[in-house]
Structure formats: C-alpha cells, structure tokens
Symmetry: C2
Subunit: 501 residues, 2 copies
C-alpha cells in the first residue's frame, strides 16, 4: 500500500495526506461519524486542493483497487461519510477546496467549490444583496458538496426546495478519474439525461462533486415569524392550507411541534420561555389585534388563550416591507382562529423574538438528548395523511411499549416529521435502545410504508439505512439503482456499502 | 413479425393495434412529426389502456427484439416521438391512458396517467381551486407523459420551473417490462438515486412513463400583464433584475421580443395592434400614472413614448388582489423608467387585454412562417451574457449572410431565446435552407458553446439534434449517458437513435 500513499503524497503534497503511520496524527475527526454511532479506520485522509488533484487521486486509487470515501464537513446523520473499520479505505476530504469561483448577479447564480461551508455561501450571497436559501442546523460546519451529495433539506424547503432544487450545475470527478464539467448556470438545458440530479443525493457513490453552480434569490424585504397553538394535527394541516392560499410563495416556514417535544425544551431550557405553553396570562383576548400590538417589545405579543396538543411555527417572507408582512400574517391568523384551526397565536415583534422562536424549535433535539436516549426517525408522509399516521402510530407504540414518550416535531409543510421515540420516564436508556431500537424502527417504517411515505426524508441512507432499502424501496427502483451504480462505478470504488449495502 | 402483432392484439385488444396491413388505416398521425420534418413507417401503432398492458407490450417487443417508440400527443419539435422509416418499430401511443387517478388538496398533488392532455390537468386543478402551472403553446394536444419525457418548459418556468420541477413521483415501465411504482406525493425522499429526474427528459429512451404525481399551487388572486419598450437587450436584463427584486416570486413571466420579430407579427396580423410599436399617440405622458388609468377599457392603457429595439412582456401573479398587483407593477415600471431601462410601458387593464398581449407574443412563430422559411434555434445562455451573445452573433450572421434577418424572442427570464434566422427579404426560401441551414446551425451553436449555453433549452434532443451532442456535450457526460442507457436498456429497445445517435 505504501506505493499508493507515495503517489497520493506526490499528487496533493505530503502535508495533505494523513495516515496512522505517524502516531501523533489523530484522524478521529474524519473517522468518527457526527452522531458517534460508528468509528472507522482509514488507510489515509487525503485533502486535495483542486479538481485536477481529485481526478489524479481517484485514478491512483482506482489503479490500486482502493475504495474512496468522499467527505465534506462530516456532519451527516446516517454514517455516510466515514470509512469502514478495515483500514483500507481512503477518506477524500474536500474541505481545502473552498473557493467561491464566481458570482453572477444578473444570472442569479453563485459558483463555489464543494468544500465551501454552507454559512459562507449564505454570507457571500447576502453581501452581494441576494439570498441563498439553504439553511439547516449544521450550516456552520457542513459543506455545499455534502449538502448536494445528501440532497440536504432544512428549514426553507417549503418555498425554495431541497438542495437539489437550488443547484443548476455540477463539476464531478467520475469513478474513472475523469472530470465532467457540467458547471452550467442555465435554468433550461434539455440536452440529454439529467446527470446533475443523478449525482445529487447519491451520497458520493456515483461520482465526487468538486464544484457547483447554485441559484440565488432576491433578499426578502421582511421576514416575520409566528407561533400558533393548534387543537390537533388535523388543525395544523388545515392551517397549512390556509397559509398556502393566503401567503402564496411568502410562506417560507411551517414547523410543527408536539406538546411533549416542547415540554422537553421547557423542562431542560426554561430560559427559552416557550410561548403559549404554561398558564401565563395572555396580553390580549382571543384573537390577533394588530393595532394594539406594542412594537419592538422584548416579548412576543401574545394574542390568545393557552394550552394545546400541537404548536406551529410559521414564517412569512415578504418582498415588500414589514408592515405588509405583518398585515398579511395577522389576517391569516385571524382567519385561522375563525376557522377553529388556531386557538392562540403570537407574532414576533422583531428579529430577536423571531430568532428566539426558531431557537425553541431547534432546541428540541438537544432537549431530547438531555432527557436521555431515544430512537430517531426522519420520515415523510403525504401531508394529508399525517394526522392519521401520527394517531395510529402513537397508539401502536403505546400499546407495544407502555409509557413510551413520543417526541414529534418537524417540517410539516414538507410532510417531514422527526418522529422520535423516547424511553418511558425513569427507564434505563441503553437497555431501552438495545431491546427496542430494531423493533421500533420496524414498526414505524412499516407504518410509513402503509402511508406511502419515505423512511428517509432528508438525512439520506448512508450505511445506517442501507440494509433497510431492500425491504422498503420498490424492487424495480432498487434494481435500476444497482444497474446504474455498476455502470458508473464498475469497480465499486466510490463509497462502497453506502446507500447500496 | 405476425406473431408479435398477434401477441400485441391479445394484450391490448385488436381495436388498439393498428398496422399497414389494413390499407384503409391511415397511420400518418403517429408516423409524421409535428413540424413535418420526418415521416416514419411503423410496424404497428399500439394503444395500451393500462400500465399492466404497457408492461406486457414491452415484454412482448423485448422478446422479439422489436424497438418501441413511446408517443404522447406527438407535438414534439425535435423528431423524438415518431418511428424511423424501417417499418420495424412499434409506436406505443399513450393517449388512451388519460385518467386522473387522484387529487389530494391537502397535499397539493394531482396524480394522472401519462396520456392526460396538459390542458385537462390545468382544468382539473382549477376546478379544485388550484393552479397547475405548466403552460405551453401545444397544451391543448400535448400529454403530461410527453411533457415529462421531454422536460417541457413554457411560459411559467421563471416562477414554477420546468416540467421536472413540478413532478414528485412517477410510475414507469422499464425496458424489461417491469413496473417501477414511484408514484409518491412526497416533497422529501432521500432513499437513493433520483430515478425520477433521470427518467424525466430522457425522451422515452430509459423507460416509459405511465403515470405521474404532479405539484399543485394556490391559484393567484390576480394576474397582471405589462408590455414595455426597452432601449437595448442590456436594458431588458436590467429590467429583469429590478422585477426580481421588486416582485419577488410574483414575477411569473418575462418574455423578450426583438423589433424585427414584432414587425412580422405587425405585418402579417395587423389586427393584433402591437402596443407601442407604431407612431400612435400615447394616451399619457412619459411614465405610469395609475390613478389616471381608465379601468376596463378596450385598449391597454399606454403610458409613454414609442419605438424601441426590444420589447418585454411581464407577468405579475399576486396572492392578494388585483389592486395590490397593479400598484406593485406600476411602481416597478416607474422605477424602471427612472433607471432608464424602460422607455415606455402599458399595463393590461383586464384579462382580455392581458390575453391579447400574450397572443402577440405567441403569434411570432406563426408570423415567421407566413414570412417564409427560417432556421430555428431553441438555445439558452446565462442571462448576464445574453446581450453580448446577441450582439456578437447578429454581427457574425450579418457578415456571413448579407441581408439576413434575425427573429429574436423568448423567455429571457429563463435565459432561453428562440433565436431564429430568416432568409433575406425576397430570397428563395428553400434554397436558403438548403445552402445555409447546416452552416448557420454550426455558427450559432459554436457561439452558444462559447457563451456556455445549451443548444437545446426546452425542446429536447430527439433525432433532430442527436448527432450534435458529440460536438457540443461534455464528453464525460456523454460517456456517462451511454453507460446509463446500456445499463437500463441493454437491448436498445426504447426509442433507439433518439438522444443518443
């Protein structure tokens, strides 16, 4: 193997090929997955600085029959970007390729290298007066290459789509070490098969994304956030329909949170002061009164009564101004109260309050971890069937595991639930996971299949769920996937055993 | 071959298998392409009534090694859906499979069979209170299966994307005659390679689309149309940027038309009364005065002076109401006049006027045909580079062909130009085509390549442009396309010689 290492050092420079030969080198940042579910052992971590170097690295590995694991920020949640424990796989870390190659304001495009941190894209776009809308919890450390490799979702999908929908062109190194220059900034190009969408979401198993041309959008003039208590999941779905009809493309966020999910945030982070959650007196009776709202106050303006099984966070991005956004939002909430699908609501008075509302939503996974171990799911269901799915699956789980607690939250606007199963109060977390994880996964995934949903909405397959696809994926689709993998990577060198076990 | 015909008749019923054996049967509707550039001869035209029948037809053809040409409304523009002249290919006409399978208002989805006429989808959606936004000239006869097979574009791409962007799920019969049930209505599904996007735009060469689940949108509360004279293509690009910034997602149409293109409409259809085109007196001085506009008048309200090298049609779809849309539109046009990128503008006062403006835009191809033969292109270029592309390419062509006339119009918001080359006035049309078509195509496509554009923006490849891909497509991309075709259709039975010559 040292011939390969020598060759890799010749290609990228010795400083950019890290191995276990040097006992002082700690490779755990590249070998350990984000959720610490798996620890691999790499033959080497290679950090190329250019597309040409990536191509040479792939050719060298192909000549030695050595597998390559492409890696961005290594923040994935399905064990998709770490090597196995054989010590024979090369981790190809893309983080040195982080240049912004071009910004084209008139074409509304940004061309960046795969190792660019997502937050950097957002910042570059904003400095130029535009919005790059992809946004998710790991944005400070994940890379756009990883976002595209996994087709990341996040909080703005409702309006702007998943990562794939924001991408116009790709530069990719193939399994043969050839460079496909598909870095187009075109919104229409019907000259053959859409290789871009095939590469996006293939988790590094069909090619290595080295650069991408992404869409920019006009910055909204104002973004407002509201928080509504709803009497049922069905009411949340009804509110979503009203919000679509009244806000149109202004609706950029629609998150649902179950009462128990919020109770964990309330318990472990009381300083967050979850609105409408405890028996705090409401500052206005029954329905929104926009004229009476104090502006710029330090608390969101509460406008109704308290206590609800579900809560919804709504975001309205307006291309005019804040007053217009507020008027639109308050008319929506008023109509929703009249229709009975909202019992209570607050609209954030300023950006700090809006951030605080989003922060509550984003604190749920952390609060869950504080509470103890749990079994996570990232599923999607047609929006219309979510109420029945939740009611049925809750009941099935409660019958199966007395005292089980369901942490239900997610991007309802996209039909995407993080439907997590927490051990009964006071129970032994590790024992719960050991005894129940497989059974609970099967029960939940079987339900997802019954409701025509997906067992991985936005996180991908990786190694974690690869063995589930033969059960839950259409067999004809799976056969086509295998045929395509074999056609584009006949040696099975690119991220083997991810996606297709 | 009669064994195959017998088998096909057994599968679909004798009435749905048409052949030349019966001399009274005229197959020209299936054998002749829309633009009458190519006339094939089919072994048979088969009209299956169900997905199961399609699968059986494919299996029977595969067993006989007989090629299949899938066909929808046969309105394609690149000879992609007609058989060759060998008399050995089966045309698989999907028009009998035209059921609306389901509409799900809460999930905002519509599931239809491939043979559904596009206009029927629009109507079904509107009756349910929603918008299905795909819209193009052939909508009265093209099918959604054909729209997806070719990834159709049209007039609403700016806001809603191409056909692929409107599709959530597919049902496909593979080259082996297996059925992939991918009819999901999910907005997020990261369980493996995106076969949906691979099938869409593959022009029936990788599988046969039998049904699709499409996205619905809220109906806009009001849609307004404006017509603006602009002093240059660069000014049109500047106006586009202003429109994006001010209307945000309300901007649903942005079409550009060159002076010569409009002069043909004006000459051959004087009854259309192209606004701002002749020296008609303007009804208001210099800039929009919304308050002074007579409402519901029979003429668009003209608001400026006359004569310009380019004109722009803008469409603004508003989720509030018409007054709001008008105010937004007029503020935009006022700002554009101040910035100098609009010299004159009218806003349609009512739906009839709006339709009349779109009708002028859509009459350009017909007016062109009245004027005589011409060489058509359907190209895309990054928006920012279009002014330079047009100036340079116009100059090159005029140097090469003295007196040549350039009919330039298209979806500028998408970077998509129908850049057509008309014979010099009074010249012999057929001689012009014979002498110049190949040379002009090469000159224009070479320019497109220099400007990083696409030689087929929305029409596809078909047979017409298949031989151009080796010159203009990235060779690595082309090699991957061939590998995928071979993997999914090893016998090359599905629409052979289309896309990949």
């Amino acid at each position: 193997m040292s011939a390969l290492i020598e060759r890799l050092r010749a290609i990228c420079g010795p400083a950019h090929v890290l191995t276990h030969e040097d006992p002082a080198t700690d490779l755990s940042a590249w070998e350990q997955d984000w959720r610490k579910r798996s620890r691999g052992r790499a033959l080497a971590v290679v950090r190329p600085g250019s597309t040409a170097e990536v191509a040479e690295v792939v050719k060298a590995c192909a000549a030695h029959g050595t597998a390559i694991v492409p890696q961005g920020g290594n923040t994935g949640l399905v064990v998709g970007s770490v090597p196995d424990d054989s010590g024979t796989q090369v981790v190809l870390s893309m983080t040195r390729m982080n240049a912004v190659r071009a910004i084209d304001p008139e074409n509304l495009t940004l061309t960046v290298e795969a190792g660019c941190i997502l937050q950097n894209l957002q910042d570059v776009a904003e400095k130029a007066g535009f919005l790059f809308p992809l946004s998710l919890a790991a944005e400070g450390s994940c890379t756009i290459g990883g976002n595209l490799g996994t087709n990341a979702g996040g909080t703005q999908v409702l309006r702007y789509g998943n990562a794939r929908d924001l991408c116009l062109g790709l530069e990719v190194v193939t399994a043969r070490g050839e460079v496909w220059n598909g870095l187009t900034g075109l919104r229409k190009d019907n000259t053959g098969y859409d290789l871009r969408h095939l590469m996006i979401g293939s988790e590094g198993t069909l090619g290595i994304i080295t650069a991408a041309t992404m869409k920019l959008y006009p910055l909204p003039a104002a973004t407002l956030t509201a928080w509504a208590a709803v009497p049922s999941m069905q009411a949340a779905v009804q509110l979503l329909g009203l919000a679509h009809a009244r806000l149109g493309p202004g609706l950029t966020g629609f998150e649902v949170m179950g009462q128990f999910a919020l109770s964990l945030a309330d318990k472990h982070y009381p300083q967050l002061r979850v609105p409408l959650f405890r028996d705090t007196p409401a500052s206005a009776p029954g329905r929104p009164k926009p004229d009476a709202a104090p502006s710029g106050g330090s608390e969101p303006h509460e406008v109704g009564s308290v206590g609800a099984p579900f809560f919804v966070l709504l975001e309205n991005s307006d291309s005019e101004n804040e007053a217009h956004a507020r008027q639109q939002f308050e008319a929506l909430l008023e109509a929703a109260m009249e229709a009975g699908c909202v019992t209570d609501a607050v609209v954030a008075e300023n950006i700090a309050q809006a951030r605080a509302l989003w922060h509550i939503r984003e604190s749920i996974p952390l609060a869950q971890a504080e509470e103890g171990l749990n079994i996570k799911h990232d599923i999607s269901i047609p929006v219309s069937r979510i109420p029945a799915f939740v009611a049925e699956t809750d009941a099935l789980l409660q019958r199966e595991i007395p005292g089980v607690r369901l942490v239900n939250f997610g991007h309802l606007g996209d039909g995407n639930l993080h439907y997590n199963v927490q051990a009964p109060e006071g129970s032994d977390g590790p024992a719960f996971l050991r005894d129940w994880e497989e059974k609970v996964n099967t029960l939940v995934f079987d339900q997802v299949a019954r409701f025509e949903g997906s067992i991985s909405a936005e996180h991908g397959v990786g190694e974690l769920k690869a063995h589930k696809l033969p059960t839950y994926k259409d067999p004809t689709a799976l056969a086509m996937m295998r045929a395509i993998k074999h056609a584009l990577d006949p040696q099975n060198l690119l991220n083997p055993r991810k996606v297709l076990a």
